[in-house]
């Protein structure tokens, strides 16, 4: 009963995440969010309590999306361990390439949130989401690295945990480097070189 919602809640979250990932929390106004989502302010506040609440939900959805795509790649038994890592990096590069076509870098909600301790402190849920995402990401990466050691595509002397942290570090670094306007082709090279300790 009552008029149904005319917009897709998840579409709004995606639009919000798209803004937050490039501008970060503080530099994204509710105005921008309405604009990007194509929703009036009243509707937005009616559906999502506050900017903080919207951010948390957008972050949740953002990491969930990555979690899924990551799992898809990193646990794909058809690929060797090394191929999984390469495919993962390719995904990042592709994202940056697509963003570049729009005239900016892709940005990253996780990098922004990690770099902003105040955000984590103001809402413990943000900290929880980031911690969980990190753990899961590292677990998947370690799995892929172990698989690679078994199938011979990854150096046998590579430590899975250290290797996983390296992959995370390179991805975060790429997010920053991409902001300088470095071309996707170069980003790919950087990514592969960065993982050389695992792949050779």
């Amino acid at each position: 009963m009552g008029r149904p919602r005319s917009f897709d809640e998840t579409a709004v979250l995606d639009a919000a995440a798209a803004e937050f990932r490039v501008h970060g929390f503080a530099d994204t106004s509710t105005e921008q969010l309405c604009e990007a989502a194509g929703v009036r302010r009243s509707s937005l506040y009616n559906a999502f309590v506050s900017k903080d609440e919207l951010f948390v939900r957008a972050l949740e959805r953002y990491v969930a999306g990555f979690r899924e795509r990551r799992a898809q790649v990193l646990a794909d038994a058809r690929l060797s361990g090394a191929e999984r890592l390469r495919a993962l990096m390719e995904g990042v590069v592709e994202e940056e390439r697509a963003a570049r076509e729009q005239g900016h870098a892709a940005g990253c909600m996780v990098v922004h949130s990690m770099m902003t301790p105040d955000l984590r402190e103001r809402d413990e849920r943000v900290a929880r989401i980031l911690d969980r995402d990190l753990r899961e990401h590292l677990d998947l990466l370690e799995g892929a690295i172990r698989a690679g050691r078994l199938d011979g595509s990854i150096r046998a002397d590579a430590d899975p945990h250290e290797g996983a942290l390296l992959v995370m570090t390179v991805i975060s670094g790429l997010r920053v480097t991409a902001q300088a306007g470095v071309e996707p082709g170069l980003l790919r090279q950087i990514a592969l070189n960065g993982l050389r300790s695992l792949l050779d």
Copy 2:
């Protein structure tokens, strides 16, 4: 003539940079800045026009400091090319170790500023400073890599430009990873593994 300034201008800039590097521009209030610098608001505004102006000057000084320390290491003819890169990474790790003792990660004004396109747009000086810093950083790195290729400490097939970008990427990535609370020892391992394509 007149009462002399009782505080050291550069000390205030350093204190401001210390705040900005962990909280970023938007999440640092003028209150915090006064507090950190031990200066009254009136004095601060008297000496530095505005928060924006203070930020630009703090950023200038921040990158100048790094520029100097970098040049010291990366152009040290007594070290092999590889040793210079290792010393550079050691500096980053050491910074994070020191910050960790204070209970937080070191942060980075450059990473924050790079990730915040709005900042670069609002003040072209910020863009100029970042661009110049990037160029100089890459130049120094390329020099060290070339030196390493000659002295045999760096792989002969390493492309200097790609290598320099890799080093920058790894450093930026470390700034993010450090925020997750990873121990300095691990950070060092990550750094070395990340540069494996150059050092082996």
